[in-house]
């Protein structure tokens, strides 16, 4: 547990430093994810140490969005002021983006013969 957390936080730290030093549009944790991906592919040791802990953390990923989600209460007045426009725009746009993205994926997968295997 401790070695895995130390490694995970180390990669996040690398990501934060690089993101700030080069003023990249990507947040530190996303860069940290890329670093960990490289480390996983290079080192069986990293794979053995990090994999079970990462899978445990990811199995509770939803929980981690709750504190930020509760922040909606701080914006209730603004949200209510634009209520109908926001509701329609967010719902229709999110559904449209999911269907459009999935459709484009499936069409190109067919064209390029990239079949799914499950």
């Amino acid at each position: 547990m401790i070695p895995a957390l130390t490694l995970i936080l180390l990669f996040q730290l690398f990501g934060e430093v690089l993101s700030r030093a080069l003023m990249l549009p990507l947040p530190g944790p996303v860069l940290g994810m890329l670093f960990l991906l490289v480390a996983l592919s290079l080192s069986p040791g990293v794979r053995r140490i990090v994999t079970p802990v990462a899978q445990f953390i990811l199995s509770h990923l939803s929980l981690l969005f709750v504190p930020a989600g509760v922040g909606i209460v701080a914006h209730l007045d603004e949200l209510r002021a634009h209520g109908p426009a926001l509701a329609v725009a967010l719902i229709v746009s999110t559904l449209a983006a999911i269907v459009a993205g999935a459709t484009a994926f499936v069409i190109v997968a067919k064209l390029t013969g990239s079949a799914s295997d499950d």
């Binding site: 996040q12 947040p27 592919s41 509760v70 997968a109």
Partner: protein
């Protein structure tokens, strides 16, 4: 005996109470999700947010005081994002064979998300600040806040819109794509990661490991793509 009012004012200003309340509300949400036969409408994040929002409003607790306790949970978002490398690594052979479909789903999904939200909101009378706050709504919150700021939006409003978008995506993705007959887990995952960032990705992991891995890719890459696309598309409105 201690005055119950004093006890409340002590507890409600300490991190312990709100950290506990966050775990408790999520636990209730997760129980309801299981009891409902994993019904997507009983999404644990949505249930927990509704419970905690109700408690804060009815006790008059400011969000900042709640967050002082809940920040310990919030902090883990960063390390959890790093951890997304593990399912990506485990699914790497599948990812490599699907580079072109991934690129197509990403570009089409991302552009649709930005264009449609701006067109609908504008038609319904939204002003320039609200439009700028809406443009990055499908992107993971830390990136969306940065984009919103650059476009002249209101960053904290964007954060709320991003979270609502994530919840809409997480609730609707499974029934909608089942109804439309999409069977490819890669397509389903990628699309929800692009349209509904981390909350959609968390939902994808609940449904299928491959969907979760592809959702992580969609979320990560859309953060970069939207940073380029949002200013271009917003300039059309």
């Amino acid at each position: 005996m201690t005055d119950p009012f004093k006890l409340w004012s002590y507890l409600s200003s300490e991190p312990l109470l709100w950290l506990w309340a966050t775990l408790m509300a999520y636990w209730i949400g997760d129980l309801l999700f299981r009891l409902s036969g994993r019904n997507p409408f009983a999404n644990p994040v949505v249930v927990a947010v509704v419970i905690l929002g109700g408690v804060l409003l009815s006790t008059g607790t400011p969000y900042q005081r709640y967050f002082d306790g809940a920040q310990f949970v919030h902090f883990m978002l960063g390390p959890a994002t790093v951890c997304l490398a593990v399912p990506l690594y485990l699914n790497w052979p599948k990812v490599r064979r699907a580079i072109l479909p991934i690129a197509a789903g990403l570009v089409v999904g991302s552009a649709t998300a930005i264009l449609s939200v701006l067109a609908i909101a504008k038609a319904m009378g939204a002003g320039p600040v609200l439009l700028a706050s809406l443009a990055p709504k499908s992107v993971t919150a830390p990136v969306a806040i940065g984009i919103s700021q650059e476009l002249g939006g209101e960053p904290s409003l964007t954060a709320a819109l991003v979270l609502i978008t994530g919840m809409i995506g997480a609730i609707t993705v499974t029934p909608m794509l089942n109804l439309l007959g999409f069977r490819d887990w890669r397509a389903r995952g990628l699309a929800v990661g692009v349209a509904a960032h981390g909350i959609g990705t968390a939902r994808a992991f609940q449904v299928h490991e491959t969907a979760g891995a592809f959702a992580s890719i969609g979320m990560g890459m859309n953060a970069v793509l939207t940073a380029f696309l949002a200013p271009l598309i917003l300039s059309l409105f």
